[in-house]
Symmetry: C2
Subunit: 422 residues, 2 copies
């Protein structure tokens, strides 16, 4: 099978200042086209380390994708390095030059020499014009000396700016690779479970797992109190592969039916959004401890305004009283993190945001703010509609970020179950 390796370049990746989201996206896209990513390597802005990575990765892969290090500043050494590596000379590419000029005209910014240098490329590469930025992509073909068939290696260098890289991958790189190589079908099918641990799930589907054919793999992907199960099939006959994996996937679904959230690779919020859209209903949120994170998850969905009306992020007591009409006495006697308050928040949000369903949350996400009675990680969640509100107390024992995420996921799952049971 044709295999790919991704090299990401940049000191910022090695000191942990930036999280690499590019290579995950690239891997997804390559997989869809039947290209298996076997390795991902990150190296710094250091000449020898980049050179070594180029030498090494072609041992494992036929396609080597490189991102980063193409900026206009002195720490960006990828372009001269690639030029030398492939024995070329830097020349000005007229298309790339025009692109740089166009971008600066559009932005109405003065152009400097440094910007125009972005249009220089090695004369031994195919230039991939970048419509979204000044650094062009570069594709290098290298004949493989040990290959009798003459099949070679392909190196592609792309800018590290995510939307520029994505545009070039979609418009140029994937089409060029598909043309040059013959890829097998890789089919993934993923389902999402909630409310069950990885080990318990593994026992439940033990027999299923043990009898899987060799070309179909099962993976467990635990995340935020949920577990995704992914089946992966590989084969050169796409139709046969699809049939084989589909049968097994249906089997798997029925085995985990009690915990199944969705049989697609999608987040919890999408499942809730689809349920609402299908029934023409709307929802709103009243968030204290999650501070707008549930609203953010829901509004990240394209078209969410069709089912989501908004949120009151009531971080202060005042906001709980004034915008959600939470009773002042109850706030003082029971505290903001209580069943009574979260139910009143839910009630207030339903009224003011005129929605069919509601989620309300109030808790202590830590590290500060905990008490003996209510340690950091304590949270009250209410879900429901005008006729029926249900509250539940949960306790998470992680850091602030993770507690916020777990609260959001659990609240969305509670609403999902409420809608299904209504």
């Amino acid at each position: 099978m044709t295999q790919a390796s991704i090299i990401t370049i940049g000191d910022e990746l090695l000191i942990g200042q930036v999280i690499d989201t590019n290579s995950a996206w690239m891997a997804q896209e390559l997989n869809k086209s039947g290209i298996r990513v076997v390795r991902r390597v990150a190296v710094g802005d250091v000449w020898d380390e980049i050179w070594t990575a180029l030498d090494e990765e072609q041992k494992y892969a036929d396609i080597i994708l490189i991102t980063g290090g193409l900026g206009p500043t002195a720490d960006d050494i990828t372009k001269p390095l690639l030029c030398k590596y492939f024995g070329g000379t830097l020349i000005v590419d007229e298309g790339a030059k025009q692109n740089v000029l166009d971008i600066f005209t559009r932005l109405n910014r003065p152009i400097i020499d440094r910007n125009l240098k972005q249009a220089e490329v090695p004369d031994v590469c195919t230039v991939l014009q970048n419509k979204r930025g000044t650094a062009p992509g570069m594709l290098f073909n290298k004949p493989h000396p040990s290959s009798l068939s003459g099949e070679g290696k392909v190196f592609v260098s792309l800018p590290g700016v995510p939307h520029e890289m994505k545009g070039l991958m979609t418009d140029d790189v994937i089409p060029a690779l598909v043309k040059q190589f013959k890829f097998p079908a890789i089919i993934h099918k993923t389902l999402l479970t909630a409310g069950v641990g990885e080990s318990f799930l593994a026992e439940l589907i033990k027999d299923f797992e043990e009898t899987l054919p060799a070309h179909i793999k099962l993976a467990y992907l635990p995340n935020y109190g949920m577990v995704r199960l992914r089946l992966t099939a590989t084969g050169f006959n796409a139709a046969e592969t699809e049939t084989a994996i589909s049968l097994l996937f249906e089997n798997l679904k029925s085995l985990v039916a009690d915990y199944l959230v969705t049989d697609k690779d999608e987040p919890m919020e999408n499942v809730v959004g689809k349920l609402l859209l299908a029934s023409g209903k709307t929802m709103c949120t009243a968030e204290s401890c999650t501070g707008g994170y549930i609203a953010h998850l829901l509004t990240s969905i394209v078209g969410s305004s069709k089912f989501y009306n908004g949120s009151v992020v009531s971080y202060s007591y005042e906001a709980k009283k004034d915008l959600l009409q939470v009773d002042k006495n109850i706030l003082l006697t029971k505290g903001a993190v209580s069943e009574e308050v979260v139910l009143q928040m839910a009630h207030g949000a339903l009224k003011h945001l005129k929605s069919d369903y509601v989620i309300a949350v109030s808790g202590i996400m830590g590290p500060d703010g905990g008490t003996t009675d209510k340690p950091a990680g304590t949270v009250w969640i209410a879900v429901g509609n005008k006729e029926n509100l249900q509250a539940q107390k949960l306790y998470f024992r992680f850091d602030r970020t993770r507690n916020i995420q777990l609260t959001a996921t659990n609240a969305l799952n509670l609403l999902r179950k409420f809608i299904l049971s209504a």
Copy 2:
């Protein structure tokens, strides 16, 4: 200098289903202790590929940190592989066994054989007890055959669950490494600029950059319309290194003073939060198109309840009218994305969330919802206080996620400038 390499194991990383945040965090922590990460490699749950990575990475580093593949399910092969790689036998570790039993007792869940197998470890490793989960960490010392001094390589295997890995790194791994190796001081100093492009910045500090001494490096880190500049110094005398970099950093700060947001490595929202805390003021938000993302950024800060009162996420027309008293006629004649509406939203939020300062945003984040007049990416932002509200129209040309992030960052920067100029 002692160098480290990080190997992350898991098919989910190579098909892009999961974004690797572990290795960024690990790199940060290692750096603080003077350990330079030279490479990061991701490989799948495949015996030969993991084995090869172990062989390869010790060519480049003395410390090899491995995460993932330690779960209780069949796709987790790291532990038996490491056992074989280092020539050991799997035995039950009593400490690890007690830990598994304790966890299941605490969770009140039935324990199964699969869970107890988590307590098995190779008899050739030092066990690092995992207080947060069932999979123990494992440290392997390998004498280096080519080293006359007898200095060897250290391999550490850690679970992939982020909070478990972090706990083990902090409590066990870093202290063990610091004891075993002699590390130089690595000092980073980072500042954040906004409102200026990378190329322009590079021209501005060209002379500074060209005269930097060899042991101090400068990096440009562009992100969401902002650029961070990072100086890195390395040296065995910590005090001298600190003095040298501090002088240069002050120099750099004065060169970019016009665009400087902060001279610390911190996000925009922290800068705003600190400004408010220092003056004892509070703020609130009224968010339409950002859907709670600004609220989420602010409430991710520990202690944000001291300066942040809350948000009205007014995704629907109704919410804008009822919770923020936006004029119905203006909504109908000017549209939700207009100067008039965003100013009224700001006004309504200030009133109901009783705050000193406000941010209000209304826009079209795309890909749907754009018109000829107001294409997707158009956004109105208002910032200010009761006496003075300022509105500004911006236009972003990216995808939904990036448009939301850029809107949030720009809105926070506008408020920051407003507070400073007030």
